[in-house]
Protein backbone atom coordinates (compact mmCIF):
# COMPACT_ATOMS: atom_id res chain seq x y z
CA UNK A 1 0.00 0.00 0.00
CA UNK A 2 1.41 3.35 -1.03
CA UNK A 3 1.10 6.52 1.03
CA UNK A 4 -1.16 8.23 -1.49
CA UNK A 5 -3.66 5.39 -1.16
CA UNK A 6 -3.61 5.83 2.60
CA UNK A 7 -4.80 9.42 2.09
CA UNK A 8 -7.96 8.12 0.45
CA UNK A 9 -8.75 5.23 2.76
CA UNK A 10 -11.11 5.39 5.68
CA UNK A 11 -12.68 2.85 7.96
CA UNK A 12 -15.96 1.35 6.71
CA UNK A 13 -16.93 -0.07 10.09
CA UNK A 14 -20.61 0.52 10.86
CA UNK A 15 -21.80 2.86 13.54
CA UNK A 16 -19.01 5.41 13.48
CA UNK A 17 -19.56 9.09 14.19
CA UNK A 18 -19.93 11.32 11.11
CA UNK A 19 -16.50 11.94 9.58
CA UNK A 20 -15.05 9.17 11.71
CA UNK A 21 -12.71 6.41 10.71
CA UNK A 22 -10.10 8.67 9.17
CA UNK A 23 -7.14 8.71 9.09
CA UNK A 24 -6.37 5.04 9.61
CA UNK A 25 -3.36 4.43 11.83
CA UNK A 26 -0.52 2.66 10.03
CA UNK A 27 0.98 -0.10 12.13
CA UNK A 28 4.18 -1.67 10.90
CA UNK A 29 7.05 -3.46 12.57
CA UNK A 30 9.31 -0.67 13.72
CA UNK A 31 12.25 -0.08 11.42
CA UNK A 32 13.65 3.33 12.39
CA UNK A 33 16.19 3.66 9.57
CA UNK A 34 13.66 2.98 6.79
CA UNK A 35 10.68 5.35 6.44
CA UNK A 36 7.45 3.54 5.50
CA UNK A 37 6.71 4.90 2.03
CA UNK A 38 5.09 1.68 0.91
CA UNK A 39 3.70 -0.72 3.44
CA UNK A 40 4.04 -4.40 2.54
CA UNK A 41 3.13 -6.04 5.85
CA UNK A 42 1.28 -4.48 8.73
CA UNK A 43 -2.10 -3.17 9.79
CA UNK A 44 -4.39 -0.22 9.33
CA UNK A 45 -6.29 0.62 12.48
CA UNK A 46 -9.59 2.45 12.62
CA UNK A 47 -9.02 5.39 15.04
CA UNK A 48 -12.60 5.20 16.35
CA UNK A 49 -13.46 1.51 16.62
CA UNK A 50 -9.94 0.11 16.93
CA UNK A 51 -10.70 -2.46 14.26
CA UNK A 52 -7.55 -3.65 12.52
CA UNK A 53 -7.35 -4.28 8.78
CA UNK A 54 -4.39 -6.44 7.75
CA UNK A 55 -1.97 -5.54 4.98
CA UNK A 56 -0.33 -8.52 3.34
CA UNK A 57 2.08 -8.37 0.37
CA UNK A 58 1.21 -4.73 -0.01
CA UNK A 59 -2.52 -5.34 -0.28
CA UNK A 60 -4.85 -4.11 2.49
CA UNK A 61 -7.86 -6.32 3.16
CA UNK A 62 -10.75 -4.00 3.97
CA UNK A 63 -13.47 -6.64 3.90
CA UNK A 64 -15.68 -6.71 6.96
CA UNK A 65 -16.90 -10.00 8.29
CA UNK A 66 -20.53 -11.11 7.92
CA UNK A 67 -21.30 -9.99 11.48
CA UNK A 68 -19.67 -6.60 11.13
CA UNK A 69 -21.32 -5.70 7.81
Amino acid sequence: MKLLTHNLLCSNVRGLRPGGGFPLRIQVRACPSVPAVEVLEGFLQCPDSGRQFPISRGIPNMLLSEEEA
Binding site: M1, K2, L4, T5, L8, L9, C10, S11, N12, R14, G15, L16, R17, P18, G19, G20, G21, F22, F53, R57, G58, I59, P60, N61, M62, L63, L64, A69
Partner: protein, 468 residues
Protein backbone atom coordinates in the same frame (compact mmCIF):
# COMPACT_ATOMS: atom_id res chain seq x y z
CA UNK B 1 9.47 -12.82 -55.15
CA UNK B 2 10.05 -9.76 -52.98
CA UNK B 3 13.66 -8.80 -52.55
CA UNK B 4 15.12 -6.57 -49.88
CA UNK B 5 14.72 -2.91 -50.81
CA UNK B 6 17.96 -1.01 -51.40
CA UNK B 7 18.97 1.22 -48.50
CA UNK B 8 17.39 4.67 -48.50
CA UNK B 9 14.22 3.77 -50.38
CA UNK B 10 12.37 2.82 -47.21
CA UNK B 11 12.48 6.39 -45.92
CA UNK B 12 10.04 7.55 -48.62
CA UNK B 13 7.92 4.43 -48.52
CA UNK B 14 4.41 5.14 -47.29
CA UNK B 15 1.71 2.72 -46.31
CA UNK B 16 -2.02 2.67 -45.90
CA UNK B 17 -2.56 0.82 -42.67
CA UNK B 18 -5.77 -0.92 -41.71
CA UNK B 19 -6.40 -1.44 -38.02
CA UNK B 20 -9.05 -3.46 -36.27
CA UNK B 21 -10.42 -1.84 -33.14
CA UNK B 22 -13.19 -2.73 -30.66
CA UNK B 23 -16.51 -2.01 -32.35
CA UNK B 24 -17.90 1.27 -31.11
CA UNK B 25 -14.50 2.80 -30.41
CA UNK B 26 -13.56 3.66 -33.98
CA UNK B 27 -13.67 7.42 -33.37
CA UNK B 28 -11.59 7.07 -30.23
CA UNK B 29 -9.00 5.02 -32.10
CA UNK B 30 -8.94 7.64 -34.87
CA UNK B 31 -8.27 10.27 -32.19
CA UNK B 32 -5.34 8.29 -30.86
CA UNK B 33 -3.93 7.91 -34.38
CA UNK B 34 -4.24 11.66 -34.94
CA UNK B 35 -2.58 12.38 -31.61
CA UNK B 36 0.30 9.96 -31.86
CA UNK B 37 0.90 9.70 -35.59
CA UNK B 38 -0.52 12.95 -36.90
CA UNK B 39 -2.56 11.06 -39.47
CA UNK B 40 -6.26 11.38 -40.18
CA UNK B 41 -8.24 8.16 -40.29
CA UNK B 42 -11.09 6.90 -42.36
CA UNK B 43 -13.63 4.80 -40.58
CA UNK B 44 -14.82 1.87 -42.61
CA UNK B 45 -18.45 0.91 -43.02
CA UNK B 46 -17.19 -2.51 -42.08
CA UNK B 47 -17.37 -1.82 -38.38
CA UNK B 48 -14.36 -2.13 -36.16
CA UNK B 49 -11.85 -1.00 -38.80
CA UNK B 50 -10.07 2.26 -39.42
CA UNK B 51 -7.61 3.21 -42.15
CA UNK B 52 -4.81 5.75 -42.08
CA UNK B 53 -1.66 6.58 -43.98
CA UNK B 54 1.79 6.65 -42.44
CA UNK B 55 5.37 6.77 -43.71
CA UNK B 56 6.93 3.31 -43.38
CA UNK B 57 9.42 4.65 -40.85
CA UNK B 58 6.44 5.39 -38.60
CA UNK B 59 5.73 1.67 -38.15
CA UNK B 60 7.20 1.40 -34.63
CA UNK B 61 4.80 4.10 -33.43
CA UNK B 62 1.91 2.33 -35.13
CA UNK B 63 2.66 -0.75 -33.05
CA UNK B 64 2.51 1.32 -29.90
CA UNK B 65 -1.13 2.33 -30.47
CA UNK B 66 -3.22 1.21 -27.50
CA UNK B 67 -6.65 1.19 -29.11
CA UNK B 68 -5.77 -1.25 -31.89
CA UNK B 69 -6.20 -5.03 -31.86
CA UNK B 70 -4.67 -6.00 -35.20
CA UNK B 71 -2.81 -4.24 -38.00
CA UNK B 72 -2.46 -4.88 -41.72
CA UNK B 73 -1.01 -3.05 -44.69
CA UNK B 74 -3.48 -2.39 -47.47
CA UNK B 75 -2.57 -3.73 -50.89
CA UNK B 76 -5.65 -2.29 -52.52
CA UNK B 77 -9.12 -1.12 -51.57
CA UNK B 78 -12.16 -1.35 -53.80
CA UNK B 79 -14.98 0.84 -52.57
CA UNK B 80 -17.53 -0.58 -54.96
CA UNK B 81 -16.45 -3.90 -56.40
CA UNK B 82 -18.70 -5.26 -59.08
CA UNK B 83 -18.91 -8.97 -58.56
CA UNK B 84 -19.76 -11.11 -61.59
CA UNK B 85 -23.13 -12.81 -61.59
CA UNK B 86 -22.26 -16.47 -61.35
CA UNK B 87 -20.11 -18.08 -58.70
CA UNK B 88 -17.69 -19.39 -61.33
CA UNK B 89 -17.22 -15.98 -62.91
CA UNK B 90 -16.98 -14.14 -59.59
CA UNK B 91 -14.28 -16.48 -58.32
CA UNK B 92 -12.37 -16.42 -61.61
CA UNK B 93 -12.50 -12.64 -61.40
CA UNK B 94 -10.91 -12.72 -57.93
CA UNK B 95 -8.22 -15.08 -59.20
CA UNK B 96 -7.43 -12.75 -62.10
CA UNK B 97 -7.25 -9.84 -59.69
CA UNK B 98 -4.10 -11.16 -58.01
CA UNK B 99 -1.65 -10.34 -60.79
CA UNK B 100 -3.14 -6.85 -61.21
CA UNK B 101 -2.65 -5.81 -57.57
CA UNK B 102 0.16 -3.43 -56.53
CA UNK B 103 2.00 -5.85 -54.25
CA UNK B 104 5.49 -4.32 -54.33
CA UNK B 105 5.24 -1.51 -51.81
CA UNK B 106 3.00 -3.33 -49.32
CA UNK B 107 5.43 -6.25 -49.37
CA UNK B 108 8.27 -3.86 -48.63
CA UNK B 109 6.27 -2.62 -45.66
CA UNK B 110 5.68 -6.20 -44.58
CA UNK B 111 9.42 -6.88 -44.71
CA UNK B 112 10.21 -3.76 -42.76
CA UNK B 113 7.63 -4.80 -40.21
CA UNK B 114 9.27 -8.23 -39.95
CA UNK B 115 12.64 -6.73 -39.15
CA UNK B 116 10.96 -4.71 -36.39
CA UNK B 117 9.43 -7.88 -34.97
CA UNK B 118 12.77 -9.66 -35.00
CA UNK B 119 14.35 -6.83 -33.04
CA UNK B 120 11.58 -7.22 -30.47
CA UNK B 121 12.06 -10.98 -30.14
CA UNK B 122 15.79 -10.52 -29.65
CA UNK B 123 15.25 -8.10 -26.79
CA UNK B 124 12.68 -10.29 -25.03
CA UNK B 125 14.07 -12.89 -22.65
CA UNK B 126 12.65 -16.36 -23.01
CA UNK B 127 9.39 -16.04 -21.16
CA UNK B 128 7.86 -19.26 -19.84
CA UNK B 129 4.69 -17.34 -19.08
CA UNK B 130 4.00 -16.90 -22.77
CA UNK B 131 2.97 -20.55 -23.04
CA UNK B 132 0.67 -20.10 -20.07
CA UNK B 133 -0.76 -17.09 -21.81
CA UNK B 134 -1.50 -19.07 -24.95
CA UNK B 135 -3.20 -21.86 -23.02
CA UNK B 136 -5.37 -19.42 -21.19
CA UNK B 137 -6.19 -17.71 -24.48
CA UNK B 138 -7.62 -20.98 -25.73
CA UNK B 139 -9.85 -21.48 -22.71
CA UNK B 140 -11.05 -17.92 -23.08
CA UNK B 141 -11.92 -18.57 -26.71
CA UNK B 142 -13.89 -21.65 -25.72
CA UNK B 143 -15.83 -19.58 -23.26
CA UNK B 144 -16.50 -16.96 -25.92
CA UNK B 145 -17.78 -19.61 -28.28
CA UNK B 146 -20.24 -20.78 -25.66
CA UNK B 147 -21.49 -17.23 -25.29
CA UNK B 148 -21.82 -16.69 -28.98
CA UNK B 149 -25.12 -18.49 -29.27
CA UNK B 150 -26.56 -15.31 -27.85
CA UNK B 151 -24.85 -13.10 -30.40
CA UNK B 152 -26.48 -11.90 -33.58
CA UNK B 153 -24.66 -13.70 -36.39
CA UNK B 154 -24.43 -11.22 -39.19
CA UNK B 155 -21.04 -12.11 -40.55
CA UNK B 156 -19.78 -15.23 -42.21
CA UNK B 157 -16.41 -15.23 -40.59
CA UNK B 158 -14.72 -18.40 -41.68
CA UNK B 159 -10.98 -18.32 -41.23
CA UNK B 160 -10.25 -19.99 -44.52
CA UNK B 161 -6.88 -20.81 -45.89
CA UNK B 162 -5.57 -22.15 -49.13
CA UNK B 163 -2.99 -24.09 -47.19
CA UNK B 164 -1.68 -27.61 -47.39
CA UNK B 165 0.26 -29.70 -44.87
CA UNK B 166 2.35 -27.81 -42.35
CA UNK B 167 6.00 -27.41 -43.22
CA UNK B 168 8.51 -29.93 -41.90
CA UNK B 169 10.79 -27.21 -40.73
CA UNK B 170 9.40 -26.22 -37.34
CA UNK B 171 11.69 -23.27 -36.79
CA UNK B 172 9.63 -20.13 -37.05
CA UNK B 173 10.99 -16.86 -35.76
CA UNK B 174 7.55 -15.32 -35.64
CA UNK B 175 6.48 -17.45 -32.67
CA UNK B 176 6.52 -15.60 -29.36
CA UNK B 177 9.27 -16.53 -26.96
CA UNK B 178 11.36 -18.14 -29.69
CA UNK B 179 14.47 -16.79 -28.07
CA UNK B 180 17.53 -15.37 -29.69
CA UNK B 181 19.30 -18.36 -31.16
CA UNK B 182 19.57 -17.46 -34.82
CA UNK B 183 22.03 -19.57 -36.66
CA UNK B 184 24.30 -17.67 -39.02
CA UNK B 185 22.73 -19.55 -41.89
CA UNK B 186 19.36 -17.95 -41.26
CA UNK B 187 20.51 -14.36 -41.28
CA UNK B 188 22.31 -14.89 -44.52
CA UNK B 189 19.19 -16.36 -46.05
CA UNK B 190 17.19 -13.23 -45.28
CA UNK B 191 19.72 -10.84 -46.75
CA UNK B 192 21.09 -12.74 -49.70
CA UNK B 193 19.24 -15.69 -51.18
CA UNK B 194 15.54 -15.45 -51.92
CA UNK B 195 14.00 -17.79 -49.34
CA UNK B 196 10.76 -19.39 -50.51
CA UNK B 197 8.03 -17.74 -48.49
CA UNK B 198 5.15 -19.56 -46.93
CA UNK B 199 1.73 -17.97 -46.94
CA UNK B 200 -1.90 -18.38 -46.21
CA UNK B 201 -5.03 -16.47 -47.19
CA UNK B 202 -7.65 -15.46 -44.65
CA UNK B 203 -11.00 -14.37 -46.05
CA UNK B 204 -13.68 -12.54 -44.09
CA UNK B 205 -16.88 -12.14 -46.01
CA UNK B 206 -20.02 -10.31 -44.94
CA UNK B 207 -23.12 -9.61 -47.00
CA UNK B 208 -26.00 -11.58 -48.40
CA UNK B 209 -25.58 -10.91 -52.12
CA UNK B 210 -22.40 -12.88 -52.78
CA UNK B 211 -22.57 -16.00 -54.89
CA UNK B 212 -19.58 -17.60 -53.14
CA UNK B 213 -18.47 -18.42 -49.62
CA UNK B 214 -15.39 -17.15 -47.82
CA UNK B 215 -13.94 -20.68 -48.08
CA UNK B 216 -14.21 -20.64 -51.82
CA UNK B 217 -12.84 -17.12 -52.18
CA UNK B 218 -9.86 -17.91 -49.95
CA UNK B 219 -9.15 -21.11 -51.81
CA UNK B 220 -9.23 -19.61 -55.29
CA UNK B 221 -7.55 -16.36 -54.39
CA UNK B 222 -4.89 -18.37 -52.58
CA UNK B 223 -4.36 -20.53 -55.61
CA UNK B 224 -3.71 -17.47 -57.74
CA UNK B 225 -1.34 -16.02 -55.11
CA UNK B 226 0.62 -19.25 -55.08
CA UNK B 227 0.80 -19.22 -58.87
CA UNK B 228 1.86 -15.56 -59.04
CA UNK B 229 4.57 -15.56 -56.36
CA UNK B 230 5.57 -19.23 -56.35
CA UNK B 231 5.17 -19.15 -52.58
CA UNK B 232 4.38 -22.24 -50.60
CA UNK B 233 0.94 -22.52 -49.01
CA UNK B 234 1.09 -23.29 -45.28
CA UNK B 235 -1.82 -23.00 -42.88
CA UNK B 236 0.13 -22.80 -39.64
CA UNK B 237 3.76 -21.82 -40.21
CA UNK B 238 3.22 -19.00 -42.67
CA UNK B 239 5.42 -15.97 -43.24
CA UNK B 240 2.84 -13.92 -45.12
CA UNK B 241 -0.82 -13.76 -44.19
CA UNK B 242 -2.83 -12.34 -47.05
CA UNK B 243 -6.15 -10.85 -45.99
CA UNK B 244 -9.15 -10.76 -48.27
CA UNK B 245 -11.88 -8.72 -46.59
CA UNK B 246 -15.19 -8.53 -48.37
CA UNK B 247 -17.94 -6.44 -46.84
CA UNK B 248 -20.85 -6.18 -49.29
CA UNK B 249 -19.25 -4.32 -52.21
CA UNK B 250 -16.23 -3.17 -50.29
CA UNK B 251 -13.20 -5.34 -50.95
CA UNK B 252 -9.89 -4.84 -49.20
CA UNK B 253 -6.78 -6.90 -49.89
CA UNK B 254 -4.15 -6.62 -47.18
CA UNK B 255 -1.13 -8.24 -45.60
CA UNK B 256 -1.20 -8.85 -41.85
CA UNK B 257 1.37 -7.04 -39.73
CA UNK B 258 0.44 -8.58 -36.38
CA UNK B 259 0.25 -12.29 -35.79
CA UNK B 260 -1.30 -12.30 -32.41
CA UNK B 261 -3.73 -9.73 -31.22
CA UNK B 262 -2.17 -6.85 -29.33
CA UNK B 263 -5.07 -6.72 -26.93
CA UNK B 264 -3.66 -9.32 -24.52
CA UNK B 265 -0.46 -7.43 -24.06
CA UNK B 266 -0.71 -6.44 -20.41
CA UNK B 267 -2.14 -9.58 -18.96
CA UNK B 268 -0.14 -12.70 -18.24
CA UNK B 269 -2.44 -14.09 -15.57
CA UNK B 270 -5.96 -14.49 -16.89
CA UNK B 271 -9.22 -14.77 -15.13
CA UNK B 272 -12.46 -16.08 -16.62
CA UNK B 273 -13.57 -12.69 -17.89
CA UNK B 274 -10.44 -10.68 -18.54
CA UNK B 275 -11.20 -7.55 -20.48
CA UNK B 276 -9.29 -6.77 -23.70
CA UNK B 277 -6.66 -4.10 -23.10
CA UNK B 278 -7.88 -2.24 -26.17
CA UNK B 279 -11.37 -2.03 -24.71
CA UNK B 280 -9.93 -0.97 -21.35
CA UNK B 281 -7.99 1.76 -23.14
CA UNK B 282 -11.09 2.99 -24.97
CA UNK B 283 -13.06 3.15 -21.73
CA UNK B 284 -10.32 5.12 -20.01
CA UNK B 285 -10.02 7.55 -22.89
CA UNK B 286 -13.74 8.17 -22.69
CA UNK B 287 -13.24 9.64 -19.17
CA UNK B 288 -10.67 12.12 -20.48
CA UNK B 289 -8.27 11.63 -17.54
CA UNK B 290 -6.38 14.72 -16.45
CA UNK B 291 -3.01 14.78 -14.65
CA UNK B 292 -3.42 14.14 -10.88
CA UNK B 293 -6.86 12.55 -11.32
CA UNK B 294 -7.57 9.67 -8.94
CA UNK B 295 -8.96 6.78 -10.97
CA UNK B 296 -10.40 3.66 -9.42
CA UNK B 297 -11.77 0.36 -10.63
CA UNK B 298 -13.76 -1.03 -7.71
CA UNK B 299 -14.49 -4.40 -9.45
CA UNK B 300 -11.13 -4.84 -11.13
CA UNK B 301 -10.99 -8.60 -11.68
CA UNK B 302 -7.52 -9.36 -13.01
CA UNK B 303 -6.79 -5.65 -13.28
CA UNK B 304 -6.94 -5.03 -17.04
CA UNK B 305 -8.34 -1.51 -16.66
CA UNK B 306 -6.10 -0.13 -13.87
CA UNK B 307 -3.02 -1.65 -15.49
CA UNK B 308 -3.81 -0.05 -18.84
CA UNK B 309 -4.57 3.16 -16.96
CA UNK B 310 -1.32 3.25 -15.02
CA UNK B 311 0.64 2.53 -18.20
CA UNK B 312 -0.97 5.14 -20.44
CA UNK B 313 -1.86 7.80 -17.87
CA UNK B 314 1.08 7.69 -15.46
CA UNK B 315 0.37 11.19 -14.17
CA UNK B 316 -2.89 9.93 -12.69
CA UNK B 317 -3.14 7.73 -9.63
CA UNK B 318 -4.85 4.37 -10.03
CA UNK B 319 -6.43 2.09 -7.45
CA UNK B 320 -7.73 -1.38 -8.23
CA UNK B 321 -10.05 -3.23 -5.90
CA UNK B 322 -12.06 -6.43 -5.78
CA UNK B 323 -13.72 -8.59 -3.15
CA UNK B 324 -12.53 -11.85 -4.70
CA UNK B 325 -9.16 -13.02 -3.29
CA UNK B 326 -8.24 -14.86 -6.54
CA UNK B 327 -8.89 -11.75 -8.59
CA UNK B 328 -6.80 -9.63 -6.22
CA UNK B 329 -3.97 -12.16 -6.38
CA UNK B 330 -4.06 -12.30 -10.20
CA UNK B 331 -4.17 -8.55 -10.49
CA UNK B 332 -1.16 -8.30 -8.16
CA UNK B 333 0.69 -10.86 -10.30
CA UNK B 334 -0.09 -8.96 -13.46
CA UNK B 335 1.29 -5.81 -11.89
CA UNK B 336 4.43 -7.69 -10.86
CA UNK B 337 4.88 -8.88 -14.44
CA UNK B 338 4.51 -5.31 -15.62
CA UNK B 339 7.08 -4.08 -13.09
CA UNK B 340 9.51 -6.77 -14.23
CA UNK B 341 8.96 -5.79 -17.86
CA UNK B 342 9.77 -2.18 -16.99
CA UNK B 343 12.81 -3.34 -15.09
CA UNK B 344 14.13 -5.11 -18.19
CA UNK B 345 13.71 -2.05 -20.34
CA UNK B 346 15.58 0.41 -18.17
CA UNK B 347 18.92 -0.72 -16.84
CA UNK B 348 18.92 0.80 -13.36
CA UNK B 349 16.07 2.29 -11.35
CA UNK B 350 12.58 1.14 -12.20
CA UNK B 351 10.42 4.11 -11.20
CA UNK B 352 7.46 2.04 -10.05
CA UNK B 353 3.87 2.31 -11.17
CA UNK B 354 1.20 4.71 -9.80
CA UNK B 355 -1.10 1.83 -8.99
CA UNK B 356 -2.29 0.14 -5.80
CA UNK B 357 -4.55 -2.80 -5.03
CA UNK B 358 -7.03 -3.27 -2.23
CA UNK B 359 -9.36 -6.06 -1.27
CA UNK B 360 -12.77 -4.53 -0.59
CA UNK B 361 -16.53 -4.77 -0.98
CA UNK B 362 -18.00 -2.54 -3.72
CA UNK B 363 -21.10 -1.94 -1.62
CA UNK B 364 -19.13 -0.64 1.35
CA UNK B 365 -16.01 1.03 0.02
CA UNK B 366 -13.35 2.13 2.51
CA UNK B 367 -12.86 5.38 0.61
CA UNK B 368 -13.55 8.89 1.74
CA UNK B 369 -16.62 10.63 0.40
CA UNK B 370 -15.96 12.66 -2.75
CA UNK B 371 -12.29 11.63 -2.91
CA UNK B 372 -12.22 9.97 -6.34
CA UNK B 373 -12.27 11.72 -9.71
CA UNK B 374 -12.94 8.82 -12.03
CA UNK B 375 -14.47 5.37 -11.72
CA UNK B 376 -13.94 2.94 -14.60
CA UNK B 377 -15.25 -0.56 -14.35
CA UNK B 378 -16.43 -3.68 -16.06
CA UNK B 379 -19.63 -4.46 -14.15
CA UNK B 380 -20.43 -8.13 -13.56
CA UNK B 381 -22.41 -9.54 -16.45
CA UNK B 382 -25.32 -11.70 -15.47
CA UNK B 383 -24.28 -14.48 -17.82
CA UNK B 384 -20.58 -14.65 -17.08
CA UNK B 385 -20.20 -14.01 -13.38
CA UNK B 386 -22.97 -13.77 -10.82
CA UNK B 387 -26.52 -13.91 -12.00
CA UNK B 388 -29.13 -11.55 -13.37
CA UNK B 389 -31.05 -11.70 -10.09
CA UNK B 390 -27.97 -10.67 -8.12
CA UNK B 391 -27.43 -7.74 -10.46
CA UNK B 392 -30.89 -6.43 -9.61
CA UNK B 393 -29.75 -5.74 -6.05
CA UNK B 394 -26.10 -5.18 -6.78
CA UNK B 395 -26.40 -2.45 -9.39
CA UNK B 396 -28.27 0.12 -7.30
CA UNK B 397 -25.95 -0.49 -4.34
CA UNK B 398 -22.88 -0.13 -6.60
CA UNK B 399 -24.08 3.05 -8.26
CA UNK B 400 -24.96 4.58 -4.90
CA UNK B 401 -21.60 3.82 -3.32
CA UNK B 402 -19.78 4.94 -6.46
CA UNK B 403 -21.78 8.13 -6.30
CA UNK B 404 -20.67 8.72 -2.73
CA UNK B 405 -16.93 8.39 -3.38
CA UNK B 406 -16.99 10.37 -6.62
CA UNK B 407 -16.14 14.09 -6.63
CA UNK B 408 -19.32 16.14 -7.11
CA UNK B 409 -19.48 18.19 -10.31
CA UNK B 410 -16.22 17.16 -11.96
CA UNK B 411 -16.28 13.43 -11.27
CA UNK B 412 -17.25 10.87 -13.87
CA UNK B 413 -17.72 7.14 -14.32
CA UNK B 414 -17.39 4.86 -17.31
CA UNK B 415 -19.09 1.54 -16.80
CA UNK B 416 -19.32 -1.49 -19.06
CA UNK B 417 -22.25 -3.83 -18.68
CA UNK B 418 -24.23 -6.34 -20.64
CA UNK B 419 -27.19 -6.05 -18.30
CA UNK B 420 -28.46 -2.83 -19.84
CA UNK B 421 -31.99 -3.17 -18.48
CA UNK B 422 -30.83 -3.55 -14.92
CA UNK B 423 -28.39 -0.72 -15.30
CA UNK B 424 -30.98 1.66 -16.74
CA UNK B 425 -33.38 0.87 -13.94
CA UNK B 426 -30.77 1.40 -11.24
CA UNK B 427 -29.74 4.68 -12.85
CA UNK B 428 -33.29 5.94 -13.13
CA UNK B 429 -33.47 6.14 -9.33
CA UNK B 430 -30.18 8.00 -9.00
CA UNK B 431 -30.77 10.98 -11.24
CA UNK B 432 -29.80 13.30 -8.36
CA UNK B 433 -26.31 11.75 -8.33
CA UNK B 434 -25.56 10.68 -11.93
CA UNK B 435 -26.28 12.28 -15.31
CA UNK B 436 -26.06 10.11 -18.39
CA UNK B 437 -23.51 11.10 -21.02
CA UNK B 438 -22.44 9.18 -24.10
CA UNK B 439 -23.19 5.49 -24.58
CA UNK B 440 -20.96 3.27 -26.73
CA UNK B 441 -22.39 -0.02 -27.98
CA UNK B 442 -19.75 -2.72 -27.90
CA UNK B 443 -19.26 -6.40 -28.42
CA UNK B 444 -17.62 -8.35 -25.62
CA UNK B 445 -16.96 -12.01 -26.27
CA UNK B 446 -19.96 -12.21 -28.55
CA UNK B 447 -22.28 -10.44 -26.15
CA UNK B 448 -23.84 -7.10 -26.95
CA UNK B 449 -22.85 -4.76 -24.17
CA UNK B 450 -22.81 -1.06 -23.53
CA UNK B 451 -20.29 1.38 -22.13
CA UNK B 452 -21.99 4.20 -20.24
CA UNK B 453 -20.33 7.52 -19.52
CA UNK B 454 -21.85 9.09 -16.41
CA UNK B 455 -21.17 12.52 -14.95
CA UNK B 456 -21.43 13.18 -11.24
CA UNK B 457 -23.90 15.96 -10.40
CA UNK B 458 -22.97 18.79 -8.06
CA UNK B 459 -25.12 17.39 -5.31
CA UNK B 460 -23.08 16.26 -2.34
CA UNK B 461 -23.54 12.72 -1.14
CA UNK B 462 -24.54 11.89 2.38
CA UNK B 463 -21.68 10.94 4.59
CA UNK B 464 -21.40 7.21 5.21
CA UNK B 465 -24.32 5.89 7.17
CA UNK B 466 -23.52 6.35 10.84
CA UNK B 467 -26.39 4.37 12.30
CA UNK B 468 -28.47 1.54 11.02
Amino acid sequence: GPGVAPAGEDAELAAVIGATVPTGFELMAAEEVQEKLGSASRISRDRGKIYFEVPARGLPQVHRLRSVDNLFVVVQEFKDYQFKETKEDALKDLEDLVKKLPWTDPLKVWELNNSLKKKKTKRKKHNPQSTVRKEKLNSDTEEKEADQKDAKKEEDCAQDTAGVEPADDAKDELQAGAGTETKTGDSRTNDGEAKVLKFRVTCNRAGDKHSFTSNEAARDFGGAVQEHFQWKADMTNFDVEVLLNIHNNEVVVGIALTEESLHRRNITHFGPTTLRSTLAYGMLRLCDPQPTDIIIDPMCGTGAIPIEGATEWPSCYHIAGDNNPQAVKRAANNICSLLKKNENKESSASPGIPLDIIQWDICNLPLRTGSVDIIVSDMPFGKRIGSKKKNWDLYPACLTEMGRICTPGTGRAVLLTQDKKCFAKALSRLGHIWRRGQTVWVNVGGLHAAVYLLRRTWERAEEKRSFW
